[in-house]
């Protein structure tokens, strides 16, 4: 890693000031940032550690669930409140990375990183979440802004995310056998107002997005049959050693159908496929 200065400010205000500086990057759990810095993808002049400054509380508010951006994936996965109110999200968090990574990685950090195959971004989009920062509130559909980018301004820090209640929800992802993030992941939800939402991650370089065509096909009824024969057209889809555009586009359709089917079933409604593993093989509609 290139050298940098490391700051551990005592207050959020101090963190914002430091983060505003030239070449400064925010450090939360570091599972994405430090890994990328080791590979030479980032070379910040300074790191501003926000650990402990951003709350990680998980609470209920006006029928929605509010998760502090400082909550680790392990804390989200283990939250009794979430397991009761939004079990799909707890389970999604419980399948990010691995247990050691989950002890460090945070919701805020994951959203700010907006990795192309990030799990949380697709959940936020499908659940109609609202992102709270030190400056403002932004709905999920406006928060993510392209490849590894968000609308966050320099010095702006994510503080919490509000997840409204939904009628049904499910999350299905098929792991890339090497990197073990989503080759394709689909989060499907039936919102409180009855509108369907389908968010896909891992398919495009810009990251998670709402699949409008799939949502249109589900308007009549939120059933897997409505997505028969659907697939993402190959143009613009990511290609790597394990999935070319055609396969990715096809996977998106298959996983979307399975997510919708899973959403109608018992909680938590999460299926993770890993090549070789028998887990997730019992669910076939």
């Amino acid at each position: 890693m290139r050298d940098f200065v490391y700051h551990r400010p005592a207050t959020l205000d101090e963190a914002r000031r430091l983060a505003f500086g030239e070449g400064a990057m925010l450090l939360a759990g570091g599972q994405t940032l430090l890994r990328d810095m080791k590979r030479g993808r980032h070379s910040p002049e300074s790191l501003v550690d926000v650990t402990g400054l951003v709350p990680g509380r998980i609470e209920s508010r006006d029928g929605a669930v509010v998760i502090g951006a400082g909550a680790t994936h392990a804390e989200v996965a283990g939250s009794a409140l979430l397991r009761e109110r939004l079990p799909v999200l707890a389970a999604l968090a419980g399948h990010i990375g691995d247990p050691a990574v989950r002890h460090r990685g945070t919701l805020g950090g994951a959203l700010a990183a907006n990795e192309p195959a990030g799990d949380y971004p697709s959940a936020c989009l499908a659940l109609g979440a609202t992102v709270h920062t030190t400056e403002r509130e932004v709905v999920a559909t406006e928060f993510f802004a392209g490849h590894c980018r968000t609308v966050l301004e320099p010095g702006e820090i994510v503080t919490a995310v509000t997840f409204p209640a939904v009628r049904q929800a499910a999350w299905v992802k098929f792991l890339n056998p090497a990197a073990r993030y989503a080759m394709v992941g689909v989060f499907a939800a039936l919102a409180a107002d009855g509108s369907p939402r389908v968010a896909v991650t891992g398919a495009r370089v810009d990251g998670a997005f709402r699949w409008r065509e799939a949502e249109a096909a589900l308007t009549a009824a939120f059933v897997a049959g409505g997505l028969r024969d659907i697939h993402l057209p190959p143009d613009g889809l990511l290609e790597d050693l394990f999935a070319d555009a055609a396969y990715r586009g096809h996977l998106a359709g298959v996983l979307a159908r399975r997510a919708v089917a899973l959403a109608a079933g018992p909680a938590p409604g999460v299926m993770v496929l890993s090549h070789g593993s028998r887990a997730g093989t019992d669910i076939r509609q």
Binding site: G30, L34, R39, T51, A74, R104
Partner: protein, 159 residues
């Protein structure tokens, strides 16, 4: 160069570190605790897993400075020299859960974390919980057996 203070295996330590020093570098080179290993550069293999404030973390993806004031436990801290092996270590030995030994400290530290959180998980769960630990020698078969056996002994002790 900044200084960092923490407790490692119950002992207060203090050292000068570069800003960019990783926790694993501080443990291995700063403190000579070479039982924790580095096996990859993408935070995947788990050979570097230690406990920080009671939680299993990948020490290759933490800055030493992030551990200021923390309590760190490495493989060397499980059983003092001369004292018998920790039950999980003993289980690994009895079950032949290590061959070259390079992934072993990370496996044992993760195993302890698994038991702390889940008590006596079944085989499928143990395999899931090892997602962040790569072994190239054992095919995981005996590691899974050892963790189940170690979990039994550890949870029996708390009954």
């Amino acid at each position: 160069m900044p200084e960092v203070s923490m407790t490692v295996n119950g002992r207060a330590v203090r050292g000068a570190v570069e800003w960019r020093a990783l926790l694993v570098d501080f443990l291995r080179e700063g403190l000579g605790l070479t039982g924790t290993h580095v096996g990859c550069d993408t935070t995947q293999c788990g050979a570097c897993i230690v406990h920080v404030n009671g939680l299993a973390v990948k020490s290759c993806t933490m800055l030493a400075l992030q551990c200021e004031g923390a309590a760190v436990t490495t493989i060397e801290g499980l059983a003092p020299p001369g004292a018998p092996l920790h039950p999980m270590q003993a289980a690994f030995r009895e079950c032949h859960a290590l061959q070259c030994g390079y992934c072993t400290s990370g496996m044992v530290m993760m195993a302890l974390d698994i038991v702390r959180r889940l008590g006596e998980p079944d085989e499928a769960t143990i395999r899931e919980e090892l997602k962040g630990n790569i072994c190239r020698c054992t095919g995981y078969h005996n590691i899974v057996r050892a963790i189940a056996a170690g979990a039994r002994v550890m949870t029996a002790g708390y009954k």
